[in-house]
């Protein structure tokens, strides 16, 4: 059922359609909208932080609220904005790029979304239920285990539930990419975006369980009286740091790798050249993924691990800069001699290169363990990770949205407004964060509520705040562009950018079964090969036949709702055991839904060949 038909049936049916959908393209919409809303929340929190730091000795918000602000900003941006926005892209694009009609586990795909969404809700409910978590997004023990009130409990439950969703999503994409590729699409013919999603999914699979365990330990300590992090009873707070960063460092590569894929697609499309050094790019991606697991302790140089451990982790960390450098050069060489079109997507990508390179350079500086004693926990680190995360991940998401918007929504985003999004954001970004390197080197610690007059920090902080307003302006123009495009722009063709990969071989947006006939892939840049031989479309790999499709289901929503309810039970049973009833009700709902899922056959249905022949299969 296409969206248009659902809308004709009324708003209720439209909502129901999205609650029960297992179509990866609609799940992409859900991730985009939910991730976008959380991005705005996180952005608002960032603005409040910057207003507080606008001038010395400011009293805009209280110290306690400030701690909640920085914690929620970091947690929201990483887990509830960046991750889901990337999942939106993965869902929207990967099945199309590999010539698949669906993902491997449509039901689990939907479950992954709802878990993430309800986890995010729990986290944000904390604002209205006595205060948000306030121990930083890294939640180091014992600060977190002894933080009064329920704030950190919301952090634990929210991340636990949304983390489960992410893990499920990762497995889904792994199997989709291994098992569902169209005939002829060997691994070394996969578009680079698909490759990076593949490696990112592997990282999710092996990194998230460490966080799961860390969160369990914290949950047990805070809610059930265990003493993992209670030094008086023999506990050890460093365990949290290790578990968190064994997850946390791979997490930053989970975020960056998919946008490396995005940039590769964008550079090659808008330079009208095949990607330079494709196999080196694949190799570098895999190597980054592998090394990403060997470096976590560079976040703990000042913890006191000793010189041997510090040296080893310093060296492995610096080694990651090598494959990253390979990528930077390959992108540059892709553009070299190409017929470059400076579209908005391309603008974001070109801007990414110097920005991210600065972030990589400061990364190598931080990796020098001895020097890190100076940088650690100062604004220098804040500048570093915003250069890589905003300059990399956020730029990449903007590039991807401008590039794939027609495939997701059937219209090309307005180019003029696109450029108006870019410039304030780009200038604002560098205004905000470049100066923070120097603030950090001058000794301004991160996460402090106030700074004092006369320490040379005033001007830098003011500039930084002004920059933040420019970034906000850019985001607002983007939102305006979304609305404007929906009403004013014409319908896009299947292939508005003269693309190279399979997603551009089918209509924008694609029918719900994606490919009427599975395409035959004859090489890298499958569509481009056909086009360069004068063909208009892909050669089908099969005769027209019945198409198997999965049924929608409300169960993923119900399962996640159950955990949402149980989450509150866990949090409040500390105050009064009566709340345990919520745990039982919630878990009962979840396990009941799992039981129903297990015993009820769900084999899906077939779209018949005759219907496909008739109206393009628009049922």
């Amino acid at each position: 059922m296409s969206t248009a038909v659902a809308q004709k049936k009324g708003f209720g049916a439209f909502i129901w359609d999205y609650l029960t959908t297992v179509d990866h393209k609609k799940i992409a919409h859900l991730y985009l909208v939910a991730g976008g809303l959380f991005f705005l929340m996180g952005g608002l929190e960032a603005m409040i932080i910057r207003i507080q730091l606008m001038k010395p000795d400011n009293e805009f918000i209280s110290a306690g609220l400030y701690n909640e602000m920085i914690t929620m900003h970091g947690t929201t941006m990483i887990f509830l904005a960046a991750m889901p926005l990337l999942f939106a892209l993965m869902n929207a694009v990967v099945p199309l790029q590999i010539g698949a009609r669906d993902v491997a586990f449509p039901f689990l795909n939907s479950l992954g979304f709802w878990l993430f969404f309800f986890g995010g809700l729990i986290l944000n409910f904390s604002w209205f239920m006595g205060g948000a978590p306030d121990a930083g997004w890294t939640a180091y023990a014992p600060l977190s285990t002894t933080s009064p009130g329920h704030g950190v409990d919301f952090y634990v439950m929210g991340l636990q539930i949304s983390g489960a969703g992410t893990l499920i999503g990762g497995i889904n994409f792994l199997v989709t990419i291994v098992n569902m590729r169209a005939p002829g699409m060997s691994y070394m013919r996969m578009p680079l975006f698909t490759w990076t999603v593949f490696v990112t999914s592997t990282l999710i699979l092996f990194a998230f369980p460490a966080l799961t365990v860390g969160l369990f330990l914290m949950m047990f300590d805070r809610m059930f009286g265990s003493v993992f992090f209670d030094v008086a009873a023999g506990g050890n707070v460093i365990i949290w740091e290790h578990l968190f960063w064994i997850f946390g460092h791979p997490e930053v590569y989970i975020l960056i790798l998919p946008v490396f894929g995005v940039f590769s697609e964008v550079f090659s499309t808008f330079s009208r050249k095949r990607l330079f050094g494709y196999s080196a790019m694949v190799f570098a991606t895999v190597l980054i993924g592998f090394l990403g697991f060997m470096v976590w302790a560079h976040h703990m140089f000042t913890t006191g691990m000793g010189p041997v451990a510090n040296s080893i982790f310093a060296v492995t960390t610096m080694a990651i800069a090598v494959p990253t450098g390979i990528k930077i050069f390959n992108w540059l060489f892709t553009m070299w001699g190409g017929t470059i079109q400076m579209t908005t997507a391309m603008l974001w990508s070109v801007a990414f290169i110097p920005t991210f390179t600065i972030g990589g350079m400061t990364g190598v500086m931080l990796a020098a363990a001895a020097a890190d004693y100076q940088y650690h926990d100062t604004y220098f680190v804040v500048a570093h990770f915003h250069y890589v995360i905003v300059g990399g991940v956020v730029f990449g998401i903007f590039a991807a949205l401008h590039y794939w918007w027609p495939k997701m929504f059937g219209k090309v985003l307005n180019e003029k407004l696109g450029k108006w999004t870019f410039w304030p954001f780009f200038i604002g970004f560098h205004l905000t964060f470049f100066i923070q390197h120097f603030l950090g080197l001058m000794g301004m610690p991160r996460r402090y509520w106030k700074f004092l007059e006369g320490q040379g920090l005033d001007t830098g902080n003011l500039i930084s705040t002004i920059g933040a307003f420019f970034m906000a302006l850019g985001v607002i123009i983007f939102l305006w562009n979304v609305i404007y495009t929906a009403f004013k722009e014409p319908k896009a063709s299947a292939d508005p950018f003269d693309g190279r990969t399979l997603e551009w071989s089918i209509p924008s947006p694609p029918p719900f079964y994606n490919f009427k006939q599975t395409p035959l892939v004859r090489g890298l840049d499958a569509l481009w090969i056909e086009k360069s031989e004068g063909k208009k479309a892909m050669t089908p790999a099969e005769p027209l036949g019945d198409i198997h499709m999965p049924y929608g289901s409300i169960l993923p929503f119900v399962m996640s709702l159950g955990l949402f309810i149980a989450g509150f039970g866990f949090i409040y049973q500390v105050d009064n055991p009566v709340w345990l009833s919520l745990v039982f009700i919630g878990m009962g709902i979840t396990l009941g839904a799992m039981f129903v899922r297990s015993v009820k056959d769900d084999l899906g249905y077939h779209i018949h060949k005759e219907d496909l022949e008739k109206g393009d299969g628009q049922l």
């Binding site: 491997a104 586990f105 893990l167 497995i171 889904n172 792994l174 199997v175 291994v178 098992n179 569902m180 699979l205 092996f206 990194a207 998230f208 369980p209 460490a210 799961t212 365990v213 860390g214 369990f216 330990l217 047990f220 300590d221 059930f224 009286g225 265990s226 003493v227 993992f228 209670d230 008086a232 009873a233 023999g234 506990g235 050890n236 365990i239 290790h242 578990l243 064994i246 039981f595 297990s598 015993v599 056959d601 084999l603 899906g604 249905y605 077939h606």
Partner: protein, 207 residues
């Protein structure tokens, strides 16, 4: 393949668990899932190793553990893994009733394992006042072994559900992957136990 062919196949292939695309996906996806589970347990093992001497004045591992009991539990679980292999053997030969018998034996062994485990915990708590809250060792021990026990319980409920659901209709290409994947899960639980036996009990007793 039509739904009818999947639910009532005219003949069962030799590997019914991988005969459909859905089956293949499930098979591979479950292996990936077990990869993630491995990291989960590795993290728990790491935590346990870091805290294994943190007795906070309470009893330590050497004093607590009795290898006789743990040996019996190990035998029960190892045997249950073997019986689940028999079950899968009969699944591949399309012998539904024998498969059900062996799965039944597996489940019975699993439940008796859990019984012993509960007794063990009860014993530590009442004889030694060694609890989840009494020391960091206690927290780490009950969390690691309890996570495993929870997995056992979940696996048992899962297998029982599958058996009950399909008792009347026999094997087909739709439920074969489900049985197969459940048995994979069971093996995984068993392997984890072997590590628990070694790292927690043996090393706790002698190391």
């Amino acid at each position: 393949m039509s739904n009818e062919d999947i639910l009532n196949p005219k003949q069962m292939p030799h590997e019914p668990e991988k005969a459909t695309l859905e089956g293949k996906n499930k098979f591979l996806g479950f292996w990936f899932f077990l990869g993630g589970e491995t990291v989960l347990f590795a993290s728990l093992f790491g935590t346990f190793l870091a805290l294994k001497d943190s007795t906070a004045g309470g009893p330590g591992t050497e004093e607590l553990f009795g290898l006789e009991l743990v040996f019996v539990m190990t035998m029960l679980l190892l045997t249950s893994s073997l019986t689940s292999v028999y079950a899968m053997y009969h699944m591949k030969n399309n012998n539904f009733s024998k498969m059900m018998v062996w799965l039944g034996v597996t489940v019975a062994l699993g439940f008796s394992f859990l019984g012993f485990e509960l007794y063990e915990f009860y014993h530590y708590i009442h004889e030694y006042e060694f609890t989840f809250r009494s020391s960091a060792l206690g927290s780490a021990f009950y969390t690691l072994v309890g996570f495993h026990g929870g997995h056992v319980l979940f696996g048992l409920l899962w297998i029982v559900t599958l058996m009950a659901r399909n008792a009347k209709r026999g094997l087909n290409l739709y439920n074969a992957p489900k049985f197969y994947v459940a048995s994979l899960y069971w093996h995984f639980i068993d392997v984890v136990w072997v590590f628990i036996f070694t790292v927690v009990y043996l090393m706790g007793k002698v190391g």
